[in-house]
Symmetry: C2
């Protein structure tokens, strides 16, 4: 839920991300936002979630700069929730979740939606993690380098 906790001070970026968007509803709200959902009622209907929970989630995402509130695009007095740059930058994460789900959460004969590029109408490629030199690397070929203890710069 929208955490009362102070912003995560973890040194691990994964942890900070998860602290913000690592709950089911937030990720699904973001997915809907990528799909063009903008209005409170649309989210609620699409996700089938309780209004109070949606309300806290939207507030949470706005607070964290992932969504922003803008005047309704149809000129009415209502407002809408749209992804910020920060929110759109979650694209790779959503694509990763999508591709993993496609690969591991469906039976071979089961149909699922597909992410296609609008230009060609063909499915996007599988995400690849690449080294700086461009070589694809697997998880076993990488390691997390802990942050060096910030050595206070010698006075100069």
């Amino acid at each position: 839920m929208a955490k009362k906790k102070p912003p995560s001070r973890a040194e691990c970026p994964v942890e900070r991300s998860v602290d913000i968007i690592g709950d089911e509803w937030s990720l699904l709200v973001i997915r809907d936002a990528f799909d063009g959902v903008r209005r409170f009622g649309e989210f609620q209907k699409s996700l089938g979630m309780a209004k109070n929970i949606l309300s806290t989630r939207l507030r949470h995402l706005v607070t964290h700069g992932i969504l922003e509130v803008v005047p309704a695009s149809d000129g009415s007095a209502f407002h809408e929730y749209v992804l910020t740059r920060k929110g759109r930058d979650l694209f790779q994460v959503l694509v990763g979740l999508r591709q993993w789900g496609e690969h591991h959460c469906f039976q071979p004969d089961e149909a699922h939606s597909v992410l296609v590029d609008t230009e060609q109408g063909r499915p996007v490629r599988a995400l690849e993690v690449r080294s700086e030199s461009g070589r694809p690397v697997t998880s076993t070929e990488t390691v997390v380098k802990k942050v060096a203890e910030k050595k206070p710069r010698a006075k100069r």
Copy 2:
């Protein structure tokens, strides 16, 4: 928590993924597993979570084939939890979360750990979503194509 719910029948792969791993603890357990954590006590200490919750999460991840229980590598009678192929395939998702966190959840002067490839010891590249032709595409250049209503194949 470990859901009692039957496996998600959503047609959206993102939703199925999120239904399985879309909670804070599961993702952090998986992150630790990528970092080589294998023992119950290690997870518990690393994550600082209650043992009962860790217990349900590990069971949940094992049930869903993301972790598997193997005999302890040190020959003791205890066992260990290691990522399966399915679990390792979450690499891109974790990398996505990491890179987003690095970019959006740290102050410019704040240090954070870094994922490097062991071969060169240099940070991996930023994930890119590419079209089938290899062109990088943004979220605005893609669309989710809903699954065609499975048309029962005409009898032949």
